[in-house]
Symmetry: C2
Subunit: 136 residues, 2 copies
């Protein structure tokens, strides 16, 4: 993988193995594309955090779903779970090296989001209005 350079600027998805890349991308999105994962990663990107701190930070997540999301991330080696055997129990979660490595590509996407989301959501509304104008 030493010969993987930043070759193309505009369309690196194109090529012989473009299909394979899409599939890999698909698997990643299967993992991080669910409802809560990126919120958790984002929260932990600041540093280790306790369960209830995440629960309060991530608006709308349920106790159960946070548990499941963290379990998934832990299982995939993206998050490390540390239990402090105190009373009451204290459990801290933090990103692993792999988990932290995810922040950069996510940030790229985030920048794209900030730049293009307004146009996208505007387009969506416009099309909806067109549709209802034509249909009703």
């Amino acid at each position: 993988m030493t010969n993987i350079r930043k070759t193309t600027q505009v369309a690196p998805l194109v090529g012989q193995d473009e299909h394979a890349r899409c599939k890999a991308l698909g698997r990643v999105l299967d993992r991080i594309g669910d409802k809560w994962t990126i919120m958790v990663v984002g929260g932990l990107s600041k540093g280790p955090m306790r369960f209830n701190a995440l629960l309060r930070l991530i608006d709308g997540v349920s106790h159960r779903m946070l548990t499941l999301t963290l379990r998934g991330l832990e299982q995939d080696g993206l998050v490390k779970r540390t239990v402090y055997p105190t009373v009451p129990p204290k459990v801290e979660y933090e990103l692993t090296a792999v988990g932290r490595s995810l922040i950069e590509p996510l940030s790229t996407l985030s920048s794209w989001a900030e730049k293009h989301l307004p146009a996208i959501e505007a387009a969506r509304v416009t099309k909806e209005e067109e549709a209802s104008a034509a249909g009703g």
Copy 2:
């Protein structure tokens, strides 16, 4: 956009508005994180393509879901739909400028995927084995 430089290397998600960025990222993933969208974008990244060509290219997608996915992308202004009033009908889909702009961040994520997916999926299997060893 001229003052957007490659400033941070490691944790651009961190900061005052880190939460807002997560939310924007969440909305993008809501859009592209579904089962077929990135496959369609990947397919169209090579150039315009007809409905049935996409149907054959994207393994496993149903007629119905491809239609819905394309409609969604069209509504969000990521894909342009062109109907040629021939017999039989011919409909071509292609990425818009915004749609093409998505390729680059997706490519970043794709590179990450290629690099880290093996470790992730290995970790997953390992943890599963641990769990079944402990549980039964």
